[in-house]
Amino acid sequence: MRRVLRLVLVGVRTHVSYMSRSPIEITFAVLVPLVYATLAVYLFRAAGDPDRLLTASVGAGLMGIWGSVLFGSGGAVQNQRWLGTLETLVVAPAPLALVLLPITLATAVIGTYAMGATVLWGVVLFGVPLDFAHPLLFLLAVPVCVLALGMMGLLLAATFVLLRNANALANPLDTPVWLLSGLLVPVTVLPAWTQPLSWALPTTWGARAVHAATSGGDVITPLLAAAALGACYALAAVLVLGRVERRARAAATLALA
């Protein structure tokens, strides 16, 4: 157990350092969410809803975290393939899921830059007061949300092992998850048939917990739901990865897929 924990911690540290030196990662993690935060603030102001400006900033931050996880996890396997290290990772004694987990967690950690940047942006530029309903729970909700997102990223990374162009799937997945998870728009405005899809996403519960910690409401229940769903996604990722890895080995397509 200690070795597993060490592998994950060292992996996360390594990949966070690696990604933090990439201008494109930082652009995605900071500058693009700032544009969305600005847009959200002006839209909320135009709607005559200044009380929810902090919610708008936090929502834009969550959108940034998801963007980082989506493209980071989608690109994780592809990057290793391009670097020629995917085969080495697959034959390593550690299970592939444990090798990929730190990468996906690192993308989520990098995504938290977005949360920090959008909240700070709101405070400095728009004078949004840092009036959190549950400040301590907010500090708990964000890491749990990040962890749940990392698990979702792991499942994505697992399915992307077999895809030559993971971006083809990753690019259109950005906005539906923003919508279905209620990161900026409450899911209640969506058609009723989308509700089950929303409930099945850890992002929905993670976002609900973060928003509740920001503007008031029950934080613990959605937080536990996000953690539980995240664990389910991690389990599914391990199963999918095992199957995908066996298929890729048998067909000798790991480097080609």
């Binding site: 494109i24 500058l31 544009v35 600005t38 083809a168 923003w178 919508l179």
Partner: protein, 263 residues
Amino acid sequence: MFRFPATARLVVVGGAISYRALFNWTTPPMFIGTLLVGPLLQVFFFVFLGRELGVADDRFHLVGTAVLAASASCVYGGTMAVANERRYGTLGAVLLSPRHRVPLWTGRALPYVLNGLFVSAFVLTAAALVLGLPVPAGALPGLGLVLLAAAGACSAFGLALGALGLRFRDVFLVSNVASSGLLLLTGAAVPRESLPEWMRFAGELLPLTHAADAARRLTAGGGLDGSLLGTELAVGAGWGLLAVALLAVFERGSRRRATLDVM
């Protein structure tokens, strides 16, 4: 016998060959996912956000975001038209050509104009059908013109950003920020009246702003506004001139410093 004039051949055939060469990695799923499905889902996001906040009606968000959809292919395409030549090591060969740079680079931008036009038309049609937004049949020719002008202006903007690829190493960073900036400043997603004066002014100088307004007017049955179309064309021409000037300046600088292929 018909002879294809040399300049037209350079623009059309040269542009088509460069497009095929630079995007040989593109697959149908990549095209559909990135350029068609992604922007379509973005339309839904802004329409539902608009419905929740009640800032503007469905038409405002749907048409604005559909016109903006051209930016994905035009801005990134224009950037890649220059930056990828450098990345693939073929830029030197391209710039060895004795041909005039204006038709050379215009040909590069042409496929992205057509691509952007197709993407915008698809997104607008699909979103209008799904969300039940009526578009008058009489508005279609005008709408085609407006979308063409928008795609042209946006491609010129992309080419100007791509010119920076001759000078800077990571030009995609610039195109990512510029692409997000278009979303904010062109009034595609947020009514420009609610933006500060300097942001409104920046929007005036950017592609898509006037085309989005003209398209909204057309879909509402208001007819083609010649001044908006003319302004969009003028903005596109301005960005086109800037692109050619930047490409010429950076080409000379790269030759002088022998940094053309330095990554």
